[in-house]
């Protein structure tokens, strides 16, 4: 092979692999974006039921109810608006009332958020940035210390 042909072959193979990788990436990228909403945004925007989203806020004081050992119901609030959440499964560590948290799941017909994944922090001093933002937007953010 001439040097020119060698280089061309390599370039063509590279371009084919790069473009198929880009195709693969873009194809699965859009399907897997999960949007985040605060309880207020949930009220304002019309969000499709059955689409996976994440919501976040504080777990409202006194709202925690156990249906049985495995089903937990509680309210997530940004202190202006709130939404009821139902979660089946073992609660993550650090889960308690007043704590900031993010839940992944979908909206049901009765405006209950069915969570399949709860994210609390491993450190109780820490507030998830999304939650801090949601509280800032609702005007209830207090700078501590």
């Amino acid at each position: 092979m001439k040097p020119k042909h060698k280089r061309l072959t390599l370039i063509i193979i590279s371009l084919i692999s790069i473009s198929s990788a880009i195709g693969l990436i873009l194809n699965s990228f859009n399907d897997n974006l999960v949007f985040f909403y605060s309880p207020t945004e949930l009220m304002q925007k019309n969000i499709e039921q059955g689409k996976t989203i994440r919501i976040g806020g504080l777990i409202a004081e006194g709202s925690l109810k156990k249906e049985d050992a495995n089903i937990t119901k509680f309210i997530i609030t940004d202190l202006n608006n709130s939404i009821e959440v139902s979660y089946k499964g073992i609660l993550p560590p650090m889960f308690r009332e007043g704590q900031g948290m993010v839940a992944k799941g979908l909206l049901s017909d009765e405006n209950v958020f069915i969570a399949d994944n709860l994210l609390t922090k491993h450190d109780e001093k820490y507030m998830p940035p999304e939650v801090a933002d949601a509280l800032k937007k609702s005007g209830k953010w207090k700078e501590t210390e």
């Binding site: 092979m1 040097p3 060698k6 072959t9 390599l10 193979i13 590279s14 692999s17 790069i18 990788a21 693969l24 990436i25 699965s28 990228f29 399907d31 897997n32 974006l33 999960v34 949007f35 985040f36 909403y37 996976t52 994440r54 156990k66 049985d68 050992a69 495995n70 937990t72 499964g89 073992i90 609660l91 993550p92 560590p93 650090m94 889960f95 308690r96 993010v102 992944k104 994210l119 922090k121 491993h122 450190d123 109780e124 820490y126 507030m127 998830p128 940035p129 999304e130 801090a132 933002d133």
Partner: protein, 619 residues
Amino acid sequence: MIPTIGYISLIIAFALTCLQIIPKFKAVRLATDLIFAGTAIALVCLITSYAVSDFSVLNVYNNSHTIKPFIYKITGTWGNHEGSLLLLVSIFSAYNFAFSKISKLGENPTDSIIRLQNIIGIGLYAFIIFTSNPFERIHPTPEDGLGLNPLLQDIGLAIHPPLLYVGYIGFSLGISFAAYILIKGEVDRKIFGTLRKWTLFSWAFLTLGVGMGSWWAYRELGWGGFWFWDPVENVSLMPWLAGTALLHSLFVTEKRGELTIWTILLAILTFCVSLIGIFLVRSGILTSVHAFAQDPTRGMFILAFFAIITNASLILFAIRANKLKSAGDFEPLSKESFFLFNNLIFTIACATVLLGTIYPIFLDILTDTKISVGAPYFNSTMPYITLPILILAALAPAIKWKKDTFANFKSDIIIPFIIAVITALACYFIPDKKSAIAIVSVSFSAYLIASMLQRGWQKMKKSGKISTSFYSMAGAHIGVAIAVIGITICSIYGIEKEEIIKLDDHISIAGYDIKMDSMSIGANKNYLTRIGVFSINKDSNEIAHLHPEVRYYPVRQMNTTESDIYYSILSNLYVAMGDSDSSGGFAVRVYYKPAVNLIWLGCLIMFMSGMVGILGRKK
């Protein structure tokens, strides 16, 4: 007193680092020794403050507690933002110290590279001194500390940050070597050989660190998984992918003087993705388990530092790269082109992870829309991108440099091919669940292992001995294949069950029968606990008892789940407990994890192969 000594030593180290970059300053080696000594003294002082619980130090007060077990007081030193940075600069100075002592490159190159390292050093030391002083004092001295986060009290967690740092920060030598070569404008293969050893060292530790972090998450988080595509996990994976590419291209450049310019670019980019990792984790931008701090000054500082280092080195590259000579005349079917495709795949894989990790941040900054990229994105792209690597890794060692023909290595692929086909058939017929990806992934891995063993056997037959560099290469490739088999089998054939059961109830999973024998409540020094006793039966023989716990820590008002795991060679059984209900039922989650041990075994083999490659002398 001790914190003051630590703080002063740290400042001296910083001052000397600044001196190092002045061209007229001559005592480079002496200053390097002193910087290392100063930083090490600072680290020892902070560790001592933790050990004796000196709560006049703000950092100790925030992150330690008198009733914390002693070993976790020590490891707690780097379980927080300031302390972990001090550890980072200590490792950085140790690298420079070691490099200055054992470098065989000669006086001038060694000193120049150390000076370049110190440019990075100024940024690191300034960051810790001006934004994250670990020795800040408080008055009056509090009675007891605040820090007792139980999740951080685990040996797996305590070890993995130092390992990761040894990996990340070691790649800084890559960028300094690259800058040196670019400024000098000429290529010396010996320099690439030296850099390859250092990169191999960092890579081996990064591999071990990633493996150890995953092992901690598996045991401690109680979710039964070993990888969650959490942004913080991703930022440790990106340097690993880039570093793996770099190791391979350095090999080509060292042996053949080819791909020089690409290797230099890759050396720059590898350290840049390590810096992205440090930036994302330390700035608190990410919602993640590791984000310690949310201080915007720190975020801005690291961002500026990252921008300066990245831009400066890329500009230098753009101006000077065309001065370098690179040999490069090879056929599409040659060792070189296989290495090139290895690099292509690892670079694409790294970019894929990067996109999924930082896209949400850009979208948030630009449009104030908050999104996250879920695990399905990574799961549906990464296997297809990375699986071809296994075949390349199997073939590349057998193919000749420059030019080869298919007829030449045809005989080498027959036996591995037969083994791969047998494995594929076994994957199709043995398990109940049919999975195309499992068949491909496991048979490719089998192909790689078989190729390596066959090649070793051929070498043995031909020359009667095997070089350490072959052991290192073949070992690392086999380690990768073993880890891939573990990841595949565990993700595809693993089973999860969550049920509410009462005393003496059973859960059956994958041929095992799990029975809840008893439940009791106890108290320990710093927590209350509910311990379950579960007996595990297989074929009506009792094989083990497991004791998962739910702990409650009153100081922190938090619960933790302590899962318990039955380890056997082929699989793990993993039991975690949740809450109870009023009728005496307990939420119990059990996982059957086949082949999961192979993941960590694979990482360990990769680490040891890396060590063999460094220690092995060239004949």
